[in-house]
C-alpha cells in the first residue's frame, strides 16, 4: 500500500493528532486566557474529523496495511466516538479551573484518538497501544479535573489499576502471539488466524491462557465485576463532567477490543469461555444494580449503574453475530447500538450533576438533589429523560437498546446448544431492569418530589445546557426513529460476519510449542 493512501485513510485520526498537538501549543500562548477559545478549538477539531469521516462514508471493502484494518466497524466507531466526543467537550467546557485547559482539551482528543485507533487495529500490538492511548490521558484528566484531594486520590487508584490491567493484557497478548505465531488479529485475505487446534477444533491451552488474560485485562477497561472496584471511587473523585467521559470512552474501546478478540476466533467460543462470560455478565449487572440500590451518593450510584450497563452489553457480546444480521438478531449490532445510546444517556446524567452547584462544590448525595426541579425545570426534565433511558423505559432509546439485546437472545434457534442459557441470561437482564428502577426512580424522585429549604443552584454555562439538551433529545429521537442508528450498527458488523463465516478457513494452526512446525502463509 502506498503511504499516501494510508494517510488519507487515517485522515480523521491524523486530524485529531495534529489538533491535539496544536492545542497543547495554543494552551501555552496568550490565546488560552480567553475562556472559551481552547474548548471551541477542540470542538472544531472534532467536527473536522467527523466531517471527514462522514463524507468519506463507509469504506467500500476494507483497507488493510501496517497492522490496521479500516472496516465498516471502524467507520461506525469513528463517528459515534467523535459525535459523543463533541458532547463531552461541550459538557467539559468550563473545566478545569486552572490554567491547564490546553492540556485538558488535548488529552480528551488524544483519548478519543485511542478509541479510533482501537477500532482500526488489526494487530495485537496496535490494539494494545491504542487502548493505552485511551487510558493514559484519562489518568491525567482526573487529576486535572478539580482541585480536590479526592481527585488526586482517584487518579492514583485509576492509574495503578489501569496499569495493572494493561500489564495483564500484555501478558495475555503474549500468549496469543505464542499460540498463533503472529501478532495479526485477523487475516485480511480470507479466514482468521485461528487459535484453535486442528485436531480437536478447540482452543489450545496456550491460546486459552492468553484468551483468559486478555479477557481479564479488557474486563478492567469495561468495568466488569470483579474488575470494577476502581469505578465507584474514581467516579466519585473526578469532577462530574469528566466522569461522563470516563463511563463511556474506555468502555467503548474495551468493547471494541472484545469484539475483535471474539471475532479473532470466529465467535467459536469454547463452552468454558461461554459460561465464564455468562457468569461475568450475570454477576456484573446484578451486583452493579444491587449495590447501586445501597448508595446515597449520586455519583457512586451512577458508577454502579455504569457497571450494570457493562453487564447488559456483555450479554450482547456473548450472543454474538451468530444468529443473523441486524440488531434484532445480531448481538454485536445490538451491542454497538446500545453503547452509542449509553454514551449519550450516561453523559447526560453526569452533565445534570455538573449543572447544579452548592456552596461547597458539586452535588454529592441524593439529598443535595432535592427540589432541583423547581429550580430548573428544563434541566430536571432532561435528567428525567436520561435516567428513564438508563432504566430502559419507553419512550426513550434505552428501551430500544434493551429490546434489541433481548430479541437477539431470542433469535437463537432453540436447537442451538447455548440457546437456553442465553435466554435465561436475557431474562436475568430483564429482571435487573426492575432492580435498577429502584435507584433510578430515587434520583428522579429526589429531583421532583424532594423538598429542600436550600436547593442547589443551577450553575454551568450554556454549552453544558446544550450538551445536556442534545443528549436527552437524542434519547427521544432514537426511540421514534431507531432505524438510522440500528442500520449503521448493523452495517458495522459486516466485517465481523465475514470473519465469522470464514472462521474455519484456518490460516495457521499450531500450538505444539515444544517443537513448532510453522506453516505460515505470508500475509
Amino acid at each position: 500500500m502506498p503511504a499516501s493512501n494510508l494517510l488519507t485513510q487515517l485522515l480523521p485520526e491524523l486530524i485529531l493528532l495534529v489538533g491535539a498537538c496544536g492545542l497543547l501549543f495554543l494552551g501555552a500562548t496568550r490565546l488560552a486566557a480567553s475562556r472559551s477559545f481552547l474548548p471551541f478549538a477542540g470542538v472544531l477539531v472534532l467536527v473536522a474529523a467527523l466531517v471527514v469521516t462522514i463524507r468519506r462514508g463507509e469504506p467500500d471493502g476494507s483497507f488493510a496495511a501496517m497492522g490496521l484494518w479500516i472496516s465498516s466497524l471502524t467507520h461506525y466507531v469513528r463517528w459515534v466516538a467523535l459525535s459523543v466526543g463533541i458532547l463531552i467537550l461541550l459538557v467539559n467546557w468550563y473545566l478545569p479551573v486552572q490554567e491547564e485547559r490546553g492540556e485538558f482539551v488535548a488529552l480528551i482528543l488524544l483519548s478519543l484518538l485511542g478509541v479510533l485507533l482501537t477500532a482500526s487495529a488489526n494487530d495485537w500490538l496496535v490494539l494494545f497501544f491504542a487502548i493505552e492511548l485511551v487510558s493514559i490521558p484519562t489518568y491525567i484528566l482526573i487529576a486535572l479535573s478539580r482541585l480536590d484531594q479526592r481527585a488526586a486520590e482517584a487518579s492514583v487508584k485509576y492509574f495503578f489499576l489501569g496499569a495493572l490491567s494493561a500489564a495483564i493484557l500484555a501478558f495475555g497478548l503474549s500468549f496469543l502471539y505464542g499460540a498463533s505465531g503472529t501478532t495479526q488479529i485477523q487475516h485480511i485475505a480470507g479466514g482468521v488466524i485461528s487459535l484453535t487446534l486442528p485436531s480437536t477444533g478447540e482452543l489450545g491451552s496456550i491460546a486459552m491462557i492468553g484468551f483468559l488474560f486478555v479477557l481479564a485485562g479488557l474486563a478492567f477497561k469495561v468495568a466488569a465485576v470483579p474488575f470494577h472496584v476502581y469505578a465507584p471511587d474514581v467516579y466519585e473523585g473526578a469532577a462530574a463532567p469528566i466522569t461522563g467521559m470516563l463511563g463511556f470512552v474506555p468502555k467503548l474501546a474495551g468493547f471494541v477490543a472484545l469484539i475483535k478478540l471474539f471475532a479473532a476466533i470466529g465467535w467459536n467460543l469454547p463452552i468454558e469461555i461461554k459460561w465464564l462470560v455468562w457468569i461475568l455478565a450475570a454477576v456484573t449487572m446484578t451486583a452493579g444494580n444491587v449495590i447501586a440500590l445501597l448508595q446515597d451518593n449520586v455519583k457512586r450510584m451512577l458508577a454502579y449503574s455504569s457497571i450494570a450497563h457493562t453487564g447488559y452489553m456483555l450479554v450482547a457480546l456473548l450472543i454474538g453475530p451468530v444468529a443473523g444480521e441486524g440488531p434484532m438478531h445480531d448481538g454485536v449490532a445490538a451491542l454497538l447500538f446500545y453503547i452509542a445510546v449509553y454514551g449519550a444517556m450516561n453523559l447526560g446524567a453526569f452533565a445534570m450533576i455538573a449543572s447544579f452547584g452548592r456552596k461547597h462544590g458539586e452535588l454529592e448525595t441524593l439529598d443535595d438533589m432535592n427540589g432541583i426541579a423547581s429550580q430548573a425545570p428544563a434541566v430536571a426534565l432532561a435528567l428525567a429523560i436520561c435516567v428513564f433511558s438508563l432504566m430502559g423505559f419507553p419512550p426513550t432509546a434505552g428501551f430500544i437498546g434493551k429490546l434489541y439485546i433481548l430479541t437477539a437472545a431470542f433469535s437463537f434457534s432453540a436447537d442451538h446448544a447455548f440457546a437456553q442459557p442465553l435466554l435465561v441470561l436475557a431474562i436475568v437482564a430483564v429482571v435487573n431492569t426492575v432492580i435498577s428502577a429502584g435507584y433510578y426512580l430515587r434520583i428522579v424522585a429526589a429531583a421532583y418530589v424532594g423538598k429542600s429549604s436550600t436547593p442547589a443552584n443551577p450553575t454551568g454555562g450554556f454549552t453544558l445546557r446544550w450538551g445536556l439538551a442534545v443528549c436527552s433529545l437524542a434519547m427521544l429521537v432514537l426511540f421514534v426513529w431507531p432505524r438510522g442508528l440500528a442500520g449503521q450498527a448493523s452495517r458495522a458488523t459486516a466485517a465481523i460476519h465475514d470473519s465469522v463465516s470464514a472462521a474455519h478457513t484456518v490460516v495457521r494452526v499450531d500450538t505444539d510449542f515444544g517443537n513448532a512446525q510453522v506453516d505460515r502463509t505470508s500475509p
Binding site: 495485537w124 500490538l125 494494545f128 497501544f129 493505552e132 493514559i136 489518568y139 491525567i140 487529576a143 484531594q149 479526592r150 488526586a152 486520590e153 482517584a154 487518579s155 492514583v156 487508584k157 492509574f159 495503578f160 496499569a163 495493572l164 494493561a166 500489564a167 495483564i168 500484555a170 501478558f171 497478548l173 503474549s174 500468549f175 502471539y177 505464542g178 505465531g181 503472529t182 501478532t183 472496584v229 465507584p232 471511587d233 466519585e236 473523585g237 510449542f513 515444544g514 513448532a516 510453522v518
Partner: protein, 104 residues
C-alpha cells in the same frame, strides 16, 4: 542434560507475573506498586521474546512488540511519578493507605 526450552521461559515469566502481582498487593508505597506493575509488564516481554525465539519468526514480531512494551513501561513510569508528585502535594505522603477519602 537439561535443555532450556520454551517451557522454562514461560515458567520464568509466570513467576515474574506472580511476583509483580504480589508486590502490587502488598506494597503500600506508590513507587513499590509501580515496580510491581513493571514486573508484570516484563513477564509479558519475556514471553514475547521466548515465543519469538522458539517459534522462529522471520519477522521477529515478538521482539518488536517487546521493545514497544519497554517504551510503554518507561512512559508509564514517567506518568506514575507525575501522579505521585501530585498526590504528595496534596497529602504530603505517597503511602497509598493514607489516600482513603473515597470509601472503597
Amino acid at each position: 542434560m537439561l535443555t532450556i526450552g520454551l517451557t522454562h521461559y514461560l515458567i520464568v515469566a509466570a513467576v515474574l507475573f506472580c511476583t509483580g502481582l504480589f508486590t502490587m498487593i502488598t506494597k503500600r508505597n506508590a513507587i513499590g506498586i509501580l515496580i510491581g506493575v513493571e514486573l508484570v509488564l516484563n513477564s509479558a516481554n519475556v514471553n514475547l521474546v521466548a515465543f519469538d525465539r522458539y517459534l522462529g519468526s522471520e519477522r521477529m514480531d515478538g521482539q518488536i512488540v517487546a521493545l514497544f512494551a519497554i517504551v510503554l513501561a518507561a512512559a508509564e513510569a514517567a506518568l506514575a511519578v507525575g501522579i505521585c508528585i501530585n498526590v504528595y502535594k496534596n497529602l504530603a505522603t505517597i503511602d497509598v493507605d493514607s489516600a482513603s477519602q473515597l470509601q472503597g
